[in-house]
């Protein structure tokens, strides 16, 4: 009963067209889930820009984008799963497995580098599919399934190899790019932006996308409406897996190696969850926006970059990011409550 009421409230925000008085328009604009993160991003940029002249340069932002690519693409998959009120703790490990397979098959076993990429993508999508199966068929919480999968996938990666192997040039093409003025825009950056736009469109305009929101709001209602929630969830986890494969390809382009440790040691998983949360997506599912996730991911990169340029020790960077996450979620909660009155 409460669930139904809650879901109605959420739907009211997403779907209902309010009367077009200017005040309400402004309010509706400010209540958009992406506005909070965007304002935070702009304040952070203004602050760092005032502190160090090296921050607000095109060159620096080119790097900030490049540094956020891998986490951002992981976070797209994470957003889809969190919107269904799930979570994925295994995405960093899955990405690492994909990257290691792609590089090893091509560099060690002499398989065609593009075929090796295809195999890697198939593997990551396959693991996503298994996650989806376990969540739906065994009715296990996503937290448990992906926690288990984190261990399994990390172990499988290291059983396969513990070596870091240099990638062939054919596999690092996303690291190339074109120059606008003096600034390098990599194909990886372009690919990331495109992925965000496509996902945004899919979530907003397609039935599949609307169902993802609906399942996070009220899975039972979706089922009663005659939609197979199991199939939908399996599709979401598989799609997320495919996105982790693309993240693997972007990682290879960036580091030019296949590194079995980095998926877990590089803290990618928690950073992807941080990006989603900073981007204003609710961890309870059903509410959020993938463009917010891009902003969230950029905020993480901007703080890492800006605080370093200011010469602030890394321990304080951790502290500040932690405070930021809690602040972002409380502001979001507060604005939601305010809006409901």
């Amino acid at each position: 009963m409460i669930c139904t009421i809650l879901s109605l409230r959420k739907n009211y925000f997403m779907e209902t067209v309010l009367p077009d008085s200017p005040l309400i328009r402004i309010r509706r604009f400010l209540l958009r889930p992406t506005m909070g993160p965007l304002i935070a991003l702009l304040i952070a940029c203004a602050f760092f820009g005032s502190q160090t002249p090296r921050f607000l340069t095109i060159n620096n932002f080119s790097f900030i984008f490049q540094q956020s690519i891998v986490v951002s693409v992981l976070a797209i998959g994470q957003t889809l799963i969190i919107l269904t009120s799930g979570i994925d703790l295994s995405n960093g490990a899955i990405m690492s497995l994909g990257a290691v397979f792609m590089v090893h098959l091509a560099s060690r076993n002499g398989i065609n580098p593009y075929l090796a990429i295809g195999v890697g993508l198939a593997i990551t999508a396959g693991i996503g599919f298994i996650n989806g199966l376990l969540v739906t068929r065994l009715r296990l919480p996503a937290f448990i399934v992906t926690l288990g999968m984190l261990g399994i996938v990390y172990a499988l990666t290291l059983i396969y190899t513990s070596e870091t192997v240099p990638a062939k040039e054919a596999q690092t093409f996303l690291g190339n790019g074109f120059k606008v003025g003096d600034t390098l825009i990599t194909y990886g950056t372009v690919a990331m932006v495109l992925l965000f736009l496509v996902t945004w469109f899919m979530l907003r305009e397609t039935a599949f996308g609307r169902h993802i929101y609906a399942i996070g709001n009220n899975a039972e209602a979706v089922r009663l409406a005659g939609i197979s929630t199991d199939r939908l969830l399996i599709a979401v986890y598989s799609l997320a897996g495919l996105l982790y494969g693309i993240a693997a390809l972007l990682l290879i382009a960036r580091t030019e190696v296949g590194d079995p440790q980095t998926g877990v040691a590089g803290n990618f998983n928690l950073e992807s969850i941080t990006a989603v949360v900073l981007g204003g997506t609710s961890l309870f599912g059903g509410r959020g926006n993938v463009l917010g996730t891009l902003i969230g991911s950029l905020i993480v990169s901007i703080f890492r970059n800006g605080l370093l340029l200011m010469g602030i020790p890394s321990i304080y960077q951790l502290l500040i990011t932690g405070i930021l996450v809690i602040m972002a979620v409380s502001v979001d909660q507060f604005s939601q409550r305010g809006g409901a009155r």
């Binding site: 540094q67 513990s162 870091t164 580091t255 877990v264 340029l309 020790p313 890394s314 951790l318």
Partner: protein, 355 residues
Amino acid sequence: MFSTQKSKKLALMVTIILVILGTFGIFSAQAQDVVQVGLITKTETNPFFVKMREGAQAAADAAGVKLLTASGKSDSDNDSQVTAIENMVNAGVKGILLVPADSAAIAPTVKKAREAGVLVIALDTPTIPQDAVDALFATDNLKAGLLIGQYAKAALGDKPVKIATLDAAPGNKTGVLRHNGFLQGFGIEEGDASIVCSGDSGGDQAKGQTLMENCLIKDPDINLVYAINEPAAAGAYTALDKAGKADGVMIVAVDGGCAPGIAGIISGHFAATSQQYPLKMAQMGVEAVINFAKTGDKPWGYTDTGVTLISAKPLEGIDSQGAVFGAQSCWGTLEDGEMDAAMKVDAAAGIKPPA
């Protein structure tokens, strides 16, 4: 009369019970006869610990003792190490070789093991306090940093220098020792104006690359990079290479792994690295436990397992070994053809092959 199905089931069950009993019998017989040595590392997979396990296994096989191994799930997983020590003491080991994940937190568990008559030796990383264990077999990390610091000073002389330090993680004791050793060797103090950028790489290649990119934005004129280990150094090289600055910047690191460490020395990406010897730590550890089992003598205090400066660009007045020496004694896997390449760079630099 039993039906055929029932008798089959019975036969199967009897077999299973016999097998189980038999297995226990074998294990308990072994436990009584053979000296057992325990090895507990931080993780299962880091090539450094893989090499350590190899060394321990080889020494154990040579002496006909049994090696039990366990590890934590991450570099800071104290809990798994506590469990492992308890299990090994229960299994009746004579001694435990331990790479502590949390130097202070493991001390009470170590104390209990020692009270149960087990010899405990710390490998690679000291406990806090250091005398919580019977003995410590480890690299002198301050010296490891010192050697590359001295090398960099000798190479750069009085040229203006801008340094980036790619450190480990806040509170990492090994990282602090190497960092301080490097500064000492270079002849500067913490906070010196020549250190233009410092950050944490976590010893991870991708994070090292991100850090180096940001450091280059902070100061594009960086010409000396100190890295906590070689993966971080490799990340720094990728960042420098992509920025077109690889040639003008000297990278020094610590570890001496085959790849990317010695491979980086051979390719000229790294100027110098301090090589450490996990195999030796483990060998000495196993031998010490066997000696304790035979004679009751315990080792004590700190034993330096050695560190060697490896460089394919030797300098006047700096004691170093070449790429071939590094390749012969590195840990991890050496790529095909790397040994030949090492011989070539050594010959080009006029370094004599090691005896």
